[in-house]
Symmetry: C2
Subunit: 495 residues, 2 copies
Amino acid sequence: MFEAAELGRKIPREEYEREVPRLRTALLQAQERLKSAPFPVLILVNGADGAGKGEIVNLLHEWMDPRFLLTYAFDRPSPEEAERPEFWRFWRALPPKGRIGIFFGSWYTRPILQRAYGEIKRRRLEEDLERIRSFEKTLVDDGALLLKFWFHLRRKDQKRRLEELESDPATRWRVTKLDWKHFRMYDRFRTICEDVLRRTSTGEAPWHVVEARDRRWQALTVGRTILDLLERRLAAPPPPPAGPRRDPPRPPARPGERVVSILDRLDLSRKVPPAKYEEELPRLQGRLNRLVRRAKEHGRSAVLVFEGWDAAGKGGAIRRIAAALDARDYRVVSVAAPTEEERAQHYLWRFWRHLPGAGRVLVFDRSWYGRVLVERVEGFARPEEWRRAYAEINDFEDQLVRHGYVFLKFFLHLSPREQLRRFRERESVPWKRFKITPEDWRNRARWDDYEEAVNEMIERTSTPGAPWTLVESEDKRHARLKILRTFCEKLEEEL
Amino acid sequence: MFEAAELGRKIPREEYEREVPRLRTALLQAQERLKSAPFPVLILVNGADGAGKGEIVNLLHEWMDPRFLLTYAFDRPSPEEAERPEFWRFWRALPPKGRIGIFFGSWYTRPILQRAYGEIKRRRLEEDLERIRSFEKTLVDDGALLLKFWFHLRRKDQKRRLEELESDPATRWRVTKLDWKHFRMYDRFRTICEDVLRRTSTGEAPWHVVEARDRRWQALTVGRTILDLLERRLAAPPPPPAGPRRDPPRPPARPGERVVSILDRLDLSRKVPPAKYEEELPRLQGRLNRLVRRAKEHGRSAVLVFEGWDAAGKGGAIRRIAAALDARDYRVVSVAAPTEEERAQHYLWRFWRHLPGAGRVLVFDRSWYGRVLVERVEGFARPEEWRRAYAEINDFEDQLVRHGYVFLKFFLHLSPREQLRRFRERESVPWKRFKITPEDWRNRARWDDYEEAVNEMIERTSTPGAPWTLVESEDKRHARLKILRTFCEKLEEEL
């Protein structure tokens, strides 16, 4: 990969000075058009020590309107970052639509360094690269323009650059002992980086390897690449907008035709008598409390997801968990319509931002599964969007599990008849009336569409590390105890 | 303060069960109306150990629509929180307009505990309470409905409650050694809390002391208090909306009338010749770099504010600072129009959220001073809003300085003639054209109004701990060197 960046190409000063004004003007115009475009731009700045990464970032700030550039530098993770999955800090810093983000250092830094120091084996590196490829695909599929720059220096050029920086009192500070240590490892770094770049130069997110020997060549190449790809992208037709589904509800299936679904297999007749419930509930809550406190001592956190039909009893079940915990230790995120900031990001962004630090319980009342449920059924997501969401969700949850969160997801199922009974009951009780909205009745009319979506969701996102717990919720007492028991058992298993 | 909460009042079960449905319905209706109201509600839940704070929070979640309740529990500060001013975590958690926030534990916890343990003297407690009063005034002045509940128990009731909780296996975990330790300090706590409550029960944010002996009395009192104050507030006429100023620009002052202002006293003829500039700039940048690295080693951070006339050279000065630093260590926040999330909060909220952790440099390109400059001149803030902003800003900056941030604020001044020259120059250079907008020309037409606002701002917000540095910016080279030098000297002084 690096041969083409070792040709010693240069740009004479006159040419540079003639070119830059044109380039700046065009970049500014493109940036202006980007402001109202439905996608973000993310520029990764990576490469050899002494290859002028900082100077390029400063130059981009000079050439473009810096008020709309969001630059993040990633060093070692802070304590806050270290308590969360590795990609949390990158998700947090993603630019919203219409903006340019510049990442100085990126998700490539840690794997490359660890491999160079021999801290991870080849197989672990492969896994890291696989994760990176899915992450980049997730961003690009959502429309992000991802520009990955790698600044390369030949061995002798790197040496000269470090020496030059060191000999000038004004720039001496830029060269550290670590830089020289890495220079002595030049060949090892070169081999590893070349391998990493080759394996992550995908169709949707190719690397741009830029020779960093001549500052003018480097600057113009970066500027022109950004301009070229941004202009091409702005000229491309936008994807068709998603909108409410206009097709009529499906005709009811003929009796003989109906395939038994996963939900059909649940035994909705399961019941717990009140007396047993009153006895069991405090026992399970006490057990849960002890377990959560033990988890906290070990710095372990839990993330729970609740999905289910309207009125299936998600809120009641969550309150029974909450009542067993110290209010300082848990948090319930009720997922409603996204805010303006959230709408300008990938749909997973607003869930990433809530991920807890060490020793906490986080409960999602509805979740990212909205993508493959309501957004699918109502047509708010295009078919290709919700279809690829299964893989994106599996990948996201895999990161939660690998990070060490105790992760559970519940689907609360009841019969349409019981749902109707609860809707009517809610409407008759003044302080429950607010729970019933016209939307609930609309969703109910689409029961079959939702059932199809739920079945497909369970099939495609029940993974060994993150299986669905299906909860028979025709009887609320049974549902609540089952959920508490499942949570307790999972904690016992993990601790 | 506590006598009225030691009367042993009770509510019989039948009355409670008759009342609760009415109360819940009314609370839900009020919460529904709040959603579109232009103010937030903040409920503080404080009081004795064993006084059922957690239960009250759970009950409020049951009585109201929990999707629009934002509950935060404040324990010891996390490392991230400890690296920032004490109030950062409270600001971060403030509910937006139309929502109810519940704070479990609050800014009262730390001062009360420290005083009870004898870790702080009476004088330090007074300072803490003074800070609390200004903070609460800031929130209430901005429209927040602040409800402060204190749950009180007599000594013997607290003892009984702790014993009851301990004797039940299901609730034993709720009682810790610390609770008993605090119980043995009952009298000391009582004296201190009573004193704290008396001193912070202000007209705008009075305490509601609630007897916690009888759960039903406690619950109904809290519910009714919230309902009553929320309904009264919803019925009150909203403040007149601010809007663009309609009064004509002021007539020019007659020559003899003009008062010499602070800005007039600046010597705009100061100049630095190019050769001297080329020599000085890298020297100062090297010095700054060494100082910032030293500050980082000590965990010290710097916060810089740049204000000034359009085209006065803020961006150029900031870039000269940035060029001396490692991109990993600094961050520039360009203050533009607030986002939806930011508009739903107090105007200082969006600045608080950016405050850095240890060892960083944060630069605000424009800042909270917009409140007393553009918002004043253009009429976006009502006169009473921008007038009280001086005190709010002084208090905010005092917190920055006390926390240990190296804090500097620069105002870049030039003559209207030089501004015009720069506007014209910018318009003639393609890649500078974006910097000039119709707004710049409009602001220029209001030069006298802005000058008045700037003078008053400098007068009212130049405090000993956070004085303004006025920068003669007729000559950019002079301005840049002065800013770099001031920053260096301030760092040297502080380290």
